[in-house]
């Protein structure tokens, strides 16, 4: 009887692994890691709610180092994350709505001038920006400075200033759990601009946390 149960158990494990491979909706998922599986399950539960509606949404996958633009569960576009750091991520439990998109300088059409106006393009998008969400979550997007010391210094300064403010808030509140989660993402310059272009006001964001360092 024990032998039969053990055989059945092994067969079930193999079946579950092969089925999971067929339904590969979570990249880089270790099916034998309960913490990773639990996190992937939590994200899937949230994603199903988002994918059931006619909308696009963003999944920040810290386990796979990817930002995925998705709709109906389909990956529309992906942006590789080069580096990330975060605080209070244990609080992340739900979908977050973007309060406003990064500011874009739009050119005004001048009927009197008559000439064709220059359209906006990816190059007009910011390369470093902060996204604020409801419920409270702050994401700082930094672009890879590619050896530019001035840009590197500015970006680090901005990142450390933001951390300083966050620590100040924690000290004032006296309870770290009262401080909202924050996430710093470093992507390539083009990808930072692409993300700034893609996000829209009210767009839902999901975060899949990494369970291994």
């Amino acid at each position: 009887m024990i032998f039969l149960c053990a055989t059945l158990s092994i067969l079930l494990s193999l079946t579950s692994v092969s089925l999971a491979a067929e339904l590969d909706v979570t990249p880089a998922l270790d099916m034998t890691d309960p913490a990773a599986l639990q996190e992937a399950t939590r994200v899937l539960e949230e994603e199903i709610k988002l994918a059931a509606r006619p909308q696009t949404y963003v999944l920040i996958d810290l386990a796979a180092n990817d930002i995925l633009i998705k709709g109906r569960g389909v990956e529309l576009h992906h942006i590789p994350i080069e580096n990330w750091s975060a605080s209070q991520l244990a609080q992340v439990m739900t979908a977050y709505r973007l309060r406003e998109r990064p500011p874009v300088h739009r050119r005004k059409v001048d009927p009197v001038a008559g000439a064709e106006q220059e359209p906006i393009s990816l190059a007009d998008m910011p390369t470093t920006f902060t996204l604020q969400f409801s419920p409270p979550l702050r994401i700082l997007v930094l672009s890879n400075s590619d050896g530019d010391p001035w840009q590197w210094t500015m970006q680090r300064g901005r990142m450390w200033w933001r951390r300083f403010i966050a620590w100040g808030n924690i000290l004032r509140a006296g309870d770290p759990s009262l401080s909202p989660p924050t996430l710093d993402l470093t992507v390539s310059l083009e990808h930072a601009q692409s993300l700034a272009w893609t996000v829209t006001e009210g767009m839902p964001f999901l975060i899949r946390r990494a369970t291994k360092p």
Partner: protein, 210 residues
Amino acid sequence: MKSVLLSLWSGVMGLLLITLVQSSGLPISNALTAQPTAVDHAVSHTLQARYKALAKQLTQLMPTQPYILVDTARNHLYVKRGDQVMLDALASTGSGTILDKPGDSKEQWIFDTPRGEFTVQSRLTNPVWVKPDWAFIEEGLEVPKSQADRLESGVLGEYALGFGKGYFIHGTLYTRLLGKNVTHGCIRLNDDDLKSVYRLAKVGTPIMIF
């Protein structure tokens, strides 16, 4: 019999443990590692089953028929079925420029291609453009009072696919501008690609724009 009972007990304990972990708010990386191996195994099985069920649920939400995907940043339109790309076309999408509405109001037109998910609502052949107010104001012209003065044929190509609020996928006379953000929100294609999209898309075909 004993082992069957043991499996059942492990399963129940596993479910109980998941519930406790989820309600505790503990960091997930620490929550599951300190439990006995037998329970771990049961939890793992329960989680795997739950994960598989959810993954299946998500895949069921994915479009099974061809859908249109528009990348407004890179000005490309794709027709896809699952992972298969059936068409990859250079397009022109919204310029992102703004135009003041006439009068004292502070209202403006913003010439963006809308983002999100839409569906093909109409399929037209030899469409006629009913020029909106902005088309006249942008050129410094008076907005005509007669509807007949707004009609312009031959500028939208042979086909047009409407996806709501006056937005269309249509053809263009300015093919040299394909690949650039130059439109007032509509999506322009060359004649051949427009014909292919028209053939592949039905009323109800999803259009995902990002």
